[in-house]
Assembly symmetry: C3
């Protein structure tokens, strides 16, 4: 992973304000790895208590862990209040970031009416259309398309093959993975007698600072007004955000989640993989929805919400599922047997 | 949204055959917006009765609404039988459509054996392969690939980064959003002793007139024979249509729906977001499937169909879900208690 | 489908070691088709018993079928132990494979530090970055991106618009359909006080020999260590494979399935369309998960597993679903009525 890059153990401790217990501060560290795999020039970490048993066999140069786990650690320790956060920061030192030579690759197609900052880097075969703006230090990998009226904010990075269709405004330090499509028309159709007519989609997309958007995720432009992600929203891969959705700051959605038109999600929400939110609903702040649940009404209170049934061997599941088709009748009989009024 | 484009209120009423009540027919209208946001040079609309309370505060130049709502409207009215349809048509006047200069962009790669109509517009960095055809007035945005044996019908528009792999024939006025892939191999594999062998996919894809296909949607080519969308089928984003599926005219599928191989969907069907249709099934005309439902058998009768369980606070859901695993046993006890024969 | 290519019936029988009963071995065959559609110069097949009734009307040159079905067949027979497998092999003769002239298309952008085998074919508008390798006979269609540290194994084929982001190593004969993204960052975020910080993703992706990966499927790079598909894994379209997942050899996943981070799937598993596997779970070899089921705990035994409820008319479903919210209470009453201790 790391190549040539090294940092001394002492420098790492100082930089991230971690207490170093044991170990040679001058030791050159050349990478990070899991608790089990990290060798004598790498830093490992222990965040999840269930891996504590692996401590005894650790061979890492040092291990990031909580103070209470230090005693059981046979190697040098880097004491952290939140080892996962500390580890994430240390790992950043060893990332190989893509080269970002400022300038426009010769194969890119930049329209005369586009504005590209001199410090921005436009990769091979990008297309920047008229009236598009790429701000300072932004980095576009190969095959990106920046359509009319779009703005790529300063220090943002579009990894490759990202398409901003029209009227998409990205904040600063936005990171977008390949295949993501922002600003395509929302799914607006009206039924007239015997066929559909298209409802023009006239709004845009606004993405706040520090958002991350996963591979092949789609975020449609608003019908009227904008689709909005506030600051620090984190979207995994293959997520679908329909027109005029609004997602509050610091919310995170796992892979394949989908939010239908005009739904509003609060701040600090966590939406599980494959979960669905129907249109025109509101979710309060700090709502968690578990994987593959379907939210069919607004949620006013913070907390965790679920739908679905448990996984079972198919033979058992079939029997139970067949009974579900008659659950109302079963419930009525139970009520009757208990001599209760029907609910 | 609108830039400079204006139409007089009277001209709009005349063009769409709407009765104008009140207001100055000569007033210049420069856009459309929601009932709440539309200002004195824009047209708003009231379609959904629950927004009727907002009428009192409207400041629009005129409001599209039903005759029965006109009395409560403090502004000029455009009377429509179906305000949403009328609004959709008016909004079309204010769409900024992409420039469509006929011709092939210098950066596009067009094979000698491709046929591109003189009136078609081929955007930057498109690839048109041998034996592909692009018909009159078709518009291809950047980064599209048109493979062998594909036909892009007249007036169709591929917004950007659309891939037609092989033997894909689009009708007229088809609109395809970025990242959509049509004509990739269907998922055909046969198990031989201890490994898979690939079943060649030899068919194509046929898309009728006036279809719309969403961003990152995939429509596979048939194994033998074609995968077919009849006229006016509307697909949202991230939909998966497997090989040899047939979708009847005027049906609409919401985001993330998926249809497995050789399934047949009737005309005027509505498939909710994230819903799944298993392979080799048939759905009658005018079947509606609600969001995230799974259709496991053919549906012969029109109507609305659902599966799944309601969203609940996780603590309550856990208890109920645990009981679902024993539902058959519960039902047997209820039957026994009622002295009934087991069903 | 076939163009000009013909093979004699006798040559086909000999090549795939099938017994030819009846028919002229010298007859020129120009394609394959379904039992119903195959005409007198094409080969049809009967694998699924429910299509046996169609035999009587067959007009194919010959029909691939099991010995026991031969008597009912009015045409020449090609006797096969597994007709579907035999048909798949015969069909291969009539596939039109893309032209694969070795060499790099003039419009492709190949970095000086990339290594491309002389026998490889790099299509129009591909981007091959420094430190990327394309091995013998590999075939890249238009618009592919091969990032740093990636290897495209011998005889692999990337159909079009495939993105290998970084540190992705493909085995031999891997087939990847358009829009697939391999090696994007996994979804690693850590919560610090009031905001997210990104956890660097430092691992890669390793794909075994003979894997097939569907259109718009995403496979993320590992956080630490690699995401792995062993040999002969088959992924349909729009599948999401998160960081550090491992999928055993010969497993197959249908469209829109999703596997969360660090889950391990055994060999010879079959995962249905839209199914979800939560993170950090293990599935044994030969586990089958039916469509749209959610796996929430590890599965130690081979077999078929399911979750969900059956599709019903919405009116009936509503009543049953409403009762599900009180299923625990219903079960308690049944227990009480039976004078049993609460479970």
């Amino acid at each position: 992973m790391s190549r040539a890059t090294t940092h001394t153990l002492g420098a790492i401790a100082a930089r991230f304000e971690l207490e170093l217990r044991g170990g040679d501060p001058a030791l050159a560290i050349d990478g990070v790895d899991t608790l089990v795999k990290a060798g004598p020039t790498r830093i490992g970490f222990l965040a999840n208590p269930r891996y504590r048993v692996q401590l005894a066999d650790a061979t890492a140069a040092a291990i990031v862990l909580r103070s209470k786990d230090a005693e059981a650690c046979p190697r040098a320790c880097l004491i952290a209040t939140d080892p996962y956060v500390a580890f994430a920061k240390i790992a950043t030192l060893f990332e190989r970031m893509p080269a970002s030579t400022p300038g426009v690759h010769a194969s890119a197609v930049v329209a005369p009416g586009a504005r590209v900052a001199a410090s921005a880097s436009i990769g091979p075969l990008c297309v920047i259309e008229d009236d598009a703006v790429v701000e300072d230090g932004a980095l576009l990998g190969p095959h990106c398309t920046i359509g009319r009226g779009c703005v790529v904010g300063a220090q943002s990075r579009l990894v490759a093959s990202v398409t901003l269709v029209q009227d998409v405004r990205l904040g600063k330090r936005v990171l977008i993975h390949p295949g993501a499509v922002l600003g395509a028309d929302g799914f607006g159709i009206a039924f007239e007698k015997d066929h559909w007519i298209k409802v023009p989609q006239l709004g845009g997309v606004v993405i706040g600072d520090d958002c991350e958007i996963g591979a092949n995720t789609t975020i449609d432009r608003g019908a009227l007004g904008d689709t909005v992600l506030e600051d620090d929203v984190r979207l995994d891969n293959q997520i679908q955000i329909a027109h005029n959705v609004r997602i509050g700051a610091h919310s995170a959605l796992a892979g394949c989640a989908a939010v239908a038109g005009s739904a509003t999600i609060g701040r600090y929400c966590l939406i599980g993989g494959g979960a669905g939110i129907l249109g025109h609903l509101s979710l309060a702040d700090r709502v968690t929805v578990t994987a593959m649940s379907l939210v069919t009404h607004s949620i006013r209170e913070p907390g965790e919400y679920s739908s679905g049934t448990p996984i079972q061997p198919n033979r058992l599941w079939r029997r139970n599922a067949a009974r579900f088709k008659h659950l109302d009748e079963i419930a009525r009989r139970v009520s009757a047997a208990n001599k209760e009024p029907e609910s």
